[in-house]
């Protein structure tokens, strides 16, 4: 009987330990918001290497990418997580948009096909996440239905969320507009590209995941 109780306690403790060790931190948002740029910033800051390729053409990330065991430190605290960079979520994809961005028709059609699969995978991965950072482009309208749907879904799943208003270095950026669109969340204006306000971002991350 004692052995059974011991085994049960061990199992529970192992389960807790395993869960803590494998926190999945997802980067979500519409295409071209700067998810991979932020993933690269985090990886460069703490691992000294990039995570994925970035480009001005939308849907550059078309597969879920994972960087395991990212360990970050801030104000004496430490946090270890698996960073999951997801393809941008969109309701429509048109290969002609990629042609306008300079791709050849065949490449554009292939990219569109892969991008649709990427959107499906991003949505599938929602269930796996422990904490999510929503990366929005601060130069664009924050009230789009895709943004509202992503935020609403995470809320319904009770997943802790931090919203990042990225590209704050650009003149058109309006961080306050993003903050007023999602008043129930902590919204931090950053420039993932140049690292502006990144310390505040890490503090915010500790606040929801630490």
């Amino acid at each position: 009987m004692i052995n059974i109780i011991k085994a049960f306690i061990n199992k529970v403790l192992k389960g807790l330990f395993k869960k803590k060790k494998n926190i999945k931190l997802g980067l979500y948002g519409p295409p071209n918001g700067g998810k991979t740029t932020l993933a690269n910033r985090i990886c460069k800051d703490w691992l000294g290497e990039d995570m994925g390729a970035v480009s001005n053409v939308a849907h550059e990330t078309r597969e879920v990418q994972i960087k395991e065991q990212v360990n970050i430190k801030s104000k004496g605290k430490e946090l270890t997580f698996n960073l999951v960079d997801t393809p941008g979520i969109a309701t429509k994809i048109d290969y002609e948009d990629f042609i306008k961005s300079g791709l050849k028709e065949k490449q554009a059609k292939q990219r569109a096909k892969e991008a649709t699969k990427g959107v499906i995978d991003s949505i599938k991965w929602l269930d796996e996440m422990d904490t999510v950072i929503i990366v929005l482009d601060a130069t664009k309208d924050p009230y789009t239905q895709v943004n509202i749907t992503i935020v609403g879904n995470l809320q319904a799943r009770k997943i802790p969320v931090l919203i990042v208003a990225n590209k704050s270095d650009l003149k058109k950026a309006d961080v306050k507009k993003v903050q007023s669109a999602y008043p129930q969340y902590n919204v931090i204006g950053i420039s993932a590209k140049y690292g502006n306000n990144i310390d505040k971002f890490y503090e915010g991350l500790f606040a929801i995941a630490g």
């Binding site: 429509k92 048109d94 096909k113 949505i123 239905q145 749907t149």
Partner: protein, 128 residues
């Protein structure tokens, strides 16, 4: 010509999530714009996006989606309590969901007092 199809909430009320989403996507794939009374569950909204992407092809490029959910944030006291009571009673019947095929509807703009639907034909005419 653009066709709008109104779907009353009772038509989807008793369907499971998968069948609800399929019903709506099937209408959109006929190049019709769906005006759904009320709104889908949050998870169904993402399912709708997923299914739209699965159906992607030469003739179907996805959807434009807009959910209008009336909220009177200025209400206080008794008025607020009354609004909350009606929201509780009506549940997902409140509001309006617009789903259009992306090859016809290019953008949906929401405003507290109006909804603007931009179609490809309108854009071409504007260019002329």
């Amino acid at each position: 010509m653009v066709t709008l199809q109104f779907v009353p909430y009772h038509e989807i009320e008793d369907l499971g999530s998968a069948r609800r989403v399929k019903k709506l996507i099937d209408i959109v794939k006929q190049n019709k714009i769906v005006l759904l009374q009320g709104r889908l569950k949050k998870e169904e909204e993402t399912d709708l996006i997923s299914i739209a992407m699965e159906e992607f092809g030469d003739k179907f490029k996805g959807i434009e989606l807009a959910v209008i959910n009336p909220k009177n944030n200025d209400a206080t006291g008794l008025k607020k309590a009354r609004n909350n009571f009606f929201r509780f009673l009506l549940g997902n019947r409140q509001g309006l969901t617009i789903i259009g095929p992306a090859n016809i509807v290019t953008e949906i703009k929401k405003d507290p007092n109006k909804i603007e639907l931009y179609t490809k034909e309108a854009k071409k005419r504007k260019k002329k």
